[in-house]
């Protein structure tokens, strides 16, 4: 089985973001960037399938600025075999990314695509579903368990009421949820080895896709701040406040 995994370079999840003073976006200068955590889970799952001899080759793909190559190197150090970088400085939105990925997939013909369920920057939760739609493939979103068989795949999904199991015909798109696995840290020897693995760089023009954003961001603002309240000294005071001040019980 050939697996294609997608990764996105995002603001590290530990960074407390700041809105730009002119409300045009988020302050990104000198901010630590990392691989989107859900994409780490996607890479890890692909590597595990390779370690079980289910996957033969793992191709990792990203779109974005030149520095996204660092994110690809991380995926290669975790165990992906080769990488494709669609280099662009444009603002990337899910539909455009899905179209570019489709163009790559038409050429690469993977049996399975594994993606993070959402990126922690724009929180869209769309690209995997959109890609599956454009390809006419089945989708298994929010996966907490992935069990491939010869020409199909059983996945367990995290749904609102608990868990759901569905079967997908291959080829298919799967998006990862938190509890699918715990991603490994790349070892130093693997980081060194990853430097020699190939990264192919493409332009959107070479793929024949138009990445122009569809949504216009008018402004980005801070959310309304919630004011802290008071500390109460004991249970009796808490009950009194809830009954007589907040009137919620």
């Amino acid at each position: 089985m050939k697996i294609l995994v997608t990764v996105k370079r995002v603001v590290d999840f530990n960074v407390k973001i700041r809105v730009k003073a002119d409300n045009s976006g988020i302050e990104l200068a000198n901010i630590k960037m990392s691989m989107n955590p859900f994409d780490e889970i996607a890479v890890e799952e692909a590597v595990r399938l390779k370690e079980k001899n289910i996957a033969k080759e793992i191709v990792v793909v990203t779109l974005g600025v030149a520095q996204c190559q660092e994110t690809l190197r991380t995926a290669l150090a975790m165990g992906a075999d080769r990488a494709i970088h669609v280099q662009t400085d444009l603002e990337l939105q899910p539909l455009a990314v899905a179209k570019a990925l489709k163009a790559i997939i038409d050429k690469e013909k993977p049996d399975l695509v594994i993606m993070g369920k959402q990126a922690i920057d724009d929180d869209c939760n769309q690209t995997g579903q959109m890609l599956a739609a454009l390809l006419g493939w089945p989708q298994g979103t929010f996966a907490s368990k992935v069990e491939p068989e010869t020409d199909k795949l059983q996945i367990t999904r995290e749904v609102d009421g608990g868990l759901e199991t569905i079967e997908l015909k291959l080829p298919a798109v799967v998006t990862t949820d938190l509890r699918l696995n715990e991603p490994r840290y790349a070892s130093l020897p693997n980081i060194m080895k990853a430097k020699k693995k190939p990264i192919e760089t493409l332009t959107p023009e070479q793929l024949g896709v138009n990445l122009t954003p569809r949504l216009k961001t008018i402004k980005v603002t801070e959310p309304p701040k919630r004011k802290g309240g008071i500390k109460v000294s004991d249970v009796a005071m808490l009950v009194d406040k809830l009954r007589n001040e907040a009137k919620v019980i």
């Binding site: 724009d122 959109m130 009421g161 868990l163 801070e222 109460v232 907040a246 019980i249």
Partner: protein, 309 residues
């Protein structure tokens, strides 16, 4: 052009999130049609006819919609969408699953998790786990929108008188097959619909200790939630999780017990009307947003609170 809402339901009853979306659609200010796609779902269709603000109900009844598989739902919605300028559904796991598929097939952007409708083409949505709010404008012919239900009021469930049109389904894609589900059974109110939520974190120490929370929740007729840390530690199932990647809730009263207040948890509950925090660490971030904070040992405080109610 009118607005189409895709109802979320369990074939018998509408989910409360559907009523919130109807209220959100009112802000677009157009006649509103609701699609009830299900299997043997005439009870849910009947419920939809009496929602205030709905003019028409489209009823698609087919085994293909029994489990709301994304491929089947999307094909149906795409077929209907051309008659509408807006297509809206709750940003629940079901809506998040099929709606981007609809948008891609229509070749339009999706606007996810909308929290405010400024005009027919301009919307607010949270980014970076709710640490920033983006105002976005869509020039696409059809606006495909998932709505964060909790921030909108509920449309009245009774008083309306919509007409029903039975429509043909688009059949089964044959791409995916439903195998089974393990749903948590509970007598308690649903997390996203509860007026009061009692939520526990890693400090509970075990699944067994969540019984303390159950006793308190019983007194308050509350739902039980949990932080991601408590779910990851295996104390409670995944569907208890409140937070950016779990459920987004906004009850009248949220009692956070042994929850430190990680950003991703706060993103899921900070719109609650009143927040109570019980934690032994006086510096826990949860106290910065709590209306009432009580510092101390939860294993003493929670039973005392239960007894005092």
């Amino acid at each position: 052009m009118p607005t189409l809402i895709v109802a979320e339901h369990d074939h018998k009853n509408l989910k409360p999130s559907t009523l919130h979306v109807v209220a959100a659609a009112k802000a677009v200010g157009q006649p509103t049609t609701i699609l009830v796609a299900g299997f043997n779902c005439s009870e849910a269709v009947k419920a939809a006819t009496s929602i205030v603000g709905i003019e028409k109900v489209l009823h698609a009844d087919d085994a293909a919609y029994e489990h709301f598989l994304a491929e089947n739902m999307a094909a149906l919605v795409v077929k209907l969408a051309k008659e509408f300028s807006h297509v809206m559904t709750p940003a629940t796991r079901i809506g998040k699953n099929f709606m981007p598929r609809v948008a891609a097939l229509l070749d339009v952007a999706q606007i996810s998790d909308v929290i405010a409708i400024e005009s027919a083409d301009t919307f607010q949505r949270p980014i970076y786990a709710g640490n920033a709010i983006a105002t976005v404008q869509s020039k696409d012919a059809i606006k495909v929108i998932t709505v964060r239900a909790t921030v909108f009021d509920k449309a009245p469930a009774t008083g309306g008188n919509a007409t029903v049109t039975k429509i043909d389904g688009t059949g089964d894609s044959g791409l995916t097959k439903f195998i089974g589900q393990e749903l948590s059974k509970s007598e308690r109110p649903e997390l996203t619909a509860a007026r009061i939520i009692v939520s526990g974190g890693r400090a509970l120490g075990s699944g067994e200790n969540f019984k303390l929370l159950e006793a308190l929740a019983d007194k308050l007729n509350a739902a039980i939630g949990a932080s991601r840390a408590a779910v990851d530690a295996g104390y409670v199932p995944n569907d208890y999780q409140v937070g950016q990647t779990g459920k987004i809730v906004a009850p009248d009263l949220y009692i956070a017990i042994g929850i430190s207040g990680a950003i991703q948890h706060l993103a899921g509950m900070k719109d609650s009307k009143v927040i109570v925090a019980i934690n032994k660490d006086p510096d826990a971030p949860i106290f910065q947003i709590a209306d009432y904070g009580l510092v101390g040992d939860l294993f003493q405080i929670v039973p005392a609170l239960t007894a005092a109610l």
